[in-house]
Subunit: 331 residues, 2 copies
Amino acid sequence: MVTIKQVAARAGVSFKTVSRVVNNDPSVKSVNREKVLNAIKELNYRPNRAASLTRRKKTNIYAIIADELLNVPYTFDIIRGAQEVAWKKNKELLILNINETKASIDRAIVSLLENRVEGVIYSAMCHRAVQLPDELKKIPTILANCFPINGDFPCVVPDEVQAGEEITTALINKGYRRIAFLNLNEDIIAAKGRKQGVINAFTRHGLPLSNLLIESVIIKQDDGIERSISRESAAKIIDSFKPDAIICGQDPMAMEIYFVAHEKNMVIGDDIGIASFDNWGSIPELLQPNLTTMALPHLQMGRWAMEYLIDLRVDLVHQHLPFKLIKRDSF
Amino acid sequence: MVTIKQVAARAGVSFKTVSRVVNNDPSVKSVNREKVLNAIKELNYRPNRAASLTRRKKTNIYAIIADELLNVPYTFDIIRGAQEVAWKKNKELLILNINETKASIDRAIVSLLENRVEGVIYSAMCHRAVQLPDELKKIPTILANCFPINGDFPCVVPDEVQAGEEITTALINKGYRRIAFLNLNEDIIAAKGRKQGVINAFTRHGLPLSNLLIESVIIKQDDGIERSISRESAAKIIDSFKPDAIICGQDPMAMEIYFVAHEKNMVIGDDIGIASFDNWGSIPELLQPNLTTMALPHLQMGRWAMEYLIDLRVDLVHQHLPFKLIKRDSF
DNA sequence: CTGTTAGCGCCTTCAC
DNA sequence: GTGAAGGCGCTAACAG
């Protein structure tokens, strides 16, 4: 491997000058800069990151821990958002993919510590509470799409309530007045918040709550496994409650509704409106125009979390898609 | 940051002994090892990876470049597979997420070179030909889920032909005898191979090719944008060709078929069999039992590629899901 | 603007 | 088994 000294010899300058050129120090005469640049190209020199890191105090390395527990397509956007900002700010971003096991997260933390990482985003693939090892407190850390069980880390999470309000308002604005909301399991954060949001929208628009039916169609069986009863429920609800629109907890559920509507010879968007949270991209193109979706702001969460770490900015612009930024000065 | 010397002072040994303990050198008296271990714990010492890397010749760092061009759920499995093996072999794995831009890949390569990465997996999100910069030839590289346009890198790709044979054979074994295959755009690798495989299976089972209809239902419009005409095509084909089973190029297509079948009051699995490549997980649970799917071996590709890099093993066991390993001794 | 000197924290070599 | 000396490739501090 060619070193800075070899380049210096070739260019006929001291190795410090080479170092300056490599690090874009403006205080190098352009003649010398040229010479060095040529030598670098001729020798095909590449700075040794490890060596440079030993001497520098700032590593400029950040990391995102991705807890892949649930592994739905769009969640990769958190990483993408973080990466985008890191790139722009010239920071290195380590992606650490873990799973639910303790060994896995422990190993990730070892990596963080040994690499002298300067900031960490801990991101979960579904909005939930997490309990993180205390060791993470040694490094500036922000959670994305999850929040700390003890409130001991700052976090950025989607504002499910606002999402619920927005999707409902969209339907109301389209003229729908009697809405059924097939919610996810109401134990989970997203389901609780959205339910509240849907109710809020009804109240705000002066619609009677008797025109609103909310039912959880993901049920936990005795064996602990979750099962979707969306199809059966939808069929029943359409007959009994007679909604003019249905909100689904997630895309696959919307697919089921399409089926049920078909079976009942209802025309989507005409006889019945359909809206859905969590656009998984699983809805065939053909049906998309008839669907009101609310995608979660994963990209923004990633960006935001990264900007928070790098600049400690907590004054960020509110984006179109709803968010909640819970700030805690833990460092 | 606490250093090896501080640990040594605390433990009452030379810093070299500490180094030995940290690196699991067996030639340390267990009394001393204990002392060192305690000191490490008390001071909460963490080896500095960068510093250790400067002196060591082997970095043990590998990287996977993920070309996220197409961003379908299961492709992350390539990374997961690579990571699994890297973990097992105690290697660090850098995940470099790029997009189609040259700037992006160039930046990734700079990162590879500066980090003195010892091996690279270049993975594409859909099976295709890629042209990689020559600079990658300086590092042992293997492609996963894509192959080099000039044959200048080794690669591991799914065996689409075999996949076609297996899925068709599965249908034939279930008793279906007249099959329509709604293929992806036949310009793409996967579509070509699978078509051949489907034909092979027919031939092998002595079925007349007149009982097989293959049609591409993803068409490229004049404006270059691809459009799926699977639904219309399926409707027509069911009426005219009267297949007893349909093979779909991918899950979303299978969803369309479910619809069409519904509209025609056909019972899935009874009046008509459905099979699909590329299990995206977009098929609602309820319908899964009626679907014969063939998932692509992304996990295995990731594992295999990594093992190839680390051990140069090309003699790996053939797994259930079909593969093709194209080996080229480029390093 | 440039070069010298002195490290960074660790590992290698080799003598004890 | 252990430790001292030396060096990895680079940057900080400072002198010129």
